[in-house]
């Protein structure tokens, strides 16, 4: 427990019986915004939302599938690290207006270190002269010590059989785990891994007093959360296609607001004087984003049914959502289990003008030959000719006389030394390779490999702690 912590809620003991005795069922509209849809998301649309959005709460969703594994590594190297790198910058930017306007902040920026993230947020609040600020943080998603060598993975092998260095494992917590934090009336709620839609379902459950087993209404809330969780992806981001899907003001894309009703139906919109667009097409695309069976979308809260959802344009940049269904929540938690993935080495060099593609292809063959013959490397190596065939090269679609191309080589290396060999070989093409090669760049990225597993709910113990600034 960090300095200044005043109380502890043990969620495990209260289980699903947490009552809303102090929360009368509400009949008003709850205004919920999204301030980030991924760790590197833009800051200015979030600031705009807390300033002008008349929001009740704003969610910052900043953890990708593998981000948390990297955060575990950061924490292992330094116990004061392991939270989202942009945490301090985001809090500094949004806290003043959020506090002034009564906007509750909900975020998974705690990543592998929610307690440290809470301390940093408290320190930022103090520096900004904000007083009486309560920060709640939720832990218990880290199940690294509960997972063992014999734990079976969905992919068919055990942890031990993966044969790679084990980094850690985390459970996707649900809205349940956040209820004590909401009941504490915290201004800021910081978590590690929570299922993305649950970050949105939690404030709605708390506000409207939704029962934890009303599957239809939790299904509706989950649709709202799912639509909102990628921020600008529902307001015209990841969408524009000039001439087909034109989006005005993409450089100043506004982030979304959901105006949610007590029955879980909602209107998705954005602020006036922001770029982007909310229309039936942007909402449809986001509804199925990263969805498999639309009638069975599983979260720790519910098995939501998206197949019956109605999407209706009611005004410019206003789309009404209704009709979602739901069924009982899964009995176990989903885990992500992370392993050392070695290093990804990438290096490139460009060729242009007549014969450019042939020169780039010759250069690529040189790299392949030397990695095998000179360095005896059998690490997986890929050679792309960007401008002729790269992203879709595997399908066999290929141009054959491109005049402005880039050779890109990529290698999965087990060590930094092996990764450096690829960079060296591509750089050596400057003097030893085909004519006219320029613009060498190379980089080495540590990588992780993740698999999935299940864990019974009784083995996962979410807990909430409070810091007062």
């Amino acid at each position: 427990m960090g300095a200044g912590a005043v109380s502890v809620y043990n969620h495990q003991n209260s289980g699903r019986s947490i009552a809303f005795s102090n929360t009368m069922a509400r009949t008003d509209t709850f205004r919920l915004g999204t301030g980030a849809g991924f760790s590197a998301d833009r800051l200015d649309p979030a600031v705009d939302l807390v300033q002008r959005g008349h929001l009740d709460a704003i969610v910052f969703e900043c953890l990708g599938e593998r981000t948390l594994a990297f955060a575990y590594r950061d924490r292992a190297a330094d116990p004061d690290r392991g939270y989202t790198p942009l945490l301090e910058k985001r809090m500094r930017a949004v806290l003043p207006a959020a506090i002034a306007n009564g906007v509750r902040i909900v975020t998974n920026m705690g990543a592998a270190n929610p307690s440290r993230a809470a301390e940093i947020t408290r320190d930022v609040a103090r520096e900004l002269g904000l007083t009486g600020i309560r920060i709640a943080y939720v832990e218990g998603d880290d199940v690294s010590d509960t997972v063992g060598p014999e734990t079976p993975l969905w992919e068919g092998m055990t942890v031990a059989e993966v044969g790679r260095g084990y980094i850690g494992a985390h459970a996707y917590l649900g809205a349940d785990a956040l209820m004590p934090a909401f009941e504490s009336q915290a201004h800021v709620i910081i978590t590690g891994r929570v299922a993305d839609p649950s970050l949105f379902v939690a404030p709605l459950r708390h506000h409207f007093g939704w029962p934890s087993d009303d599957w239809q209404i939790l299904g509706a809330g989950t649709v709202v959360g799912h639509l909102m969780e990628c921020a600008g992806q529902i307001t015209g981001g990841y969408f524009a296609d000039p001439g087909y899907k034109n989006v005005e003001g993409l450089a100043h894309l506004g982030f979304p607001i959901a105006e949610v009703q007590p029955d879980g139906s909602a209107c998705i919109t954005k602020l006036d004087h922001t770029g982007g667009s909310v229309d039936v097409r942007t909402v449809k695309e986001q509804l199925l984003y990263e969805v498999h069976d639309p009638s069975r979308y599983l979260t720790p809260d519910v098995c939501a049914d998206f197949s019956s959802v109605r999407i209706e344009s009611v005004a410019p940049d206003r789309v009404a959502i209704s009709g979602a269904g739901g069924d009982s929540a899964p009995e176990s938690y989903k885990l992500t289990v992370a392993f050392d993935g070695g290093y990804l080495a990438e290096a490139g060099i460009s060729y242009a003008g007549p014969g450019a593609q042939a020169r780039a292809e010759l250069a690529g063959r040189n790299v392949e030959e030397r990695m095998a013959a000179v360095h005896a490397s059998n690490a997986p190596l890929r050679v792309d000719i960007i401008g002729a065939a790269s992203l879709h090269a595997t399908t066999g679609r290929y141009h054959d006389d491109a005049e402005d191309v880039r050779l890109r080589c990529a290698l999965r290396a087990s060590s930094v030394e092996q990764a450096e060999l690829l960079l060296w070989e591509v750089e050596s093409l400057l003097c030893c390779g085909p004519a006219g090669g320029g613009g060498y760049r190379g980089g080495i990225t540590p990588s992780v490999i993740t698999y999935s597993a299940s864990m019974a709910r009784e083995h996962v113990s979410p807990r909430t702690e409070i810091l007062d600034a």
Partner: protein, 106 residues
């Protein structure tokens, strides 16, 4: 009189990923085109054109109320973002691959 058009002319699409599984949703702009697209744009057609990339099972879900199809393609990301050496390890551009197919419409 029927004519062949690029799917891109009559539909829009979005790609997502989970591990080594890609999903691409496709929605027609005009409901009148839904039947033609639903009839022709099948997992078999995707396998025929992109079989070297889409190496696993393809399941198609129909959302007739939204005039959309959702393709869930196993082993379609060259190992997935963890292991793929593709620049686009998430398969974000797989939607554009599918929009480049031809569909016959009335």
């Amino acid at each position: 009189m029927s004519r062949r058009v690029l799917l891109r002319e009559i539909a829009h699409a979005r790609s997502g990923d989970k591990g080594n599984c890609s999903n691409v949703s496709v929605f027609v702009y005009d409901a009148d085109h839904f039947n033609a697209v639903a009839e022709q744009l099948t997992g078999t057609l995707l396998k025929h054109h992109f079989g070297a990339l889409l190496t696993g099972e393809i399941t198609r879900y129909e959302l007739s109320n939204l005039h959309g199809l959702n393709f869930v393609m196993q082993n379609a990301l060259e190992g997935g973002v963890n292991e793929s050496l593709n620049l686009d390890g998430h398969g974000k551009s797989w939607s554009s691959l599918i929009l480049g197919l031809e569909i016959e419409i009335q």
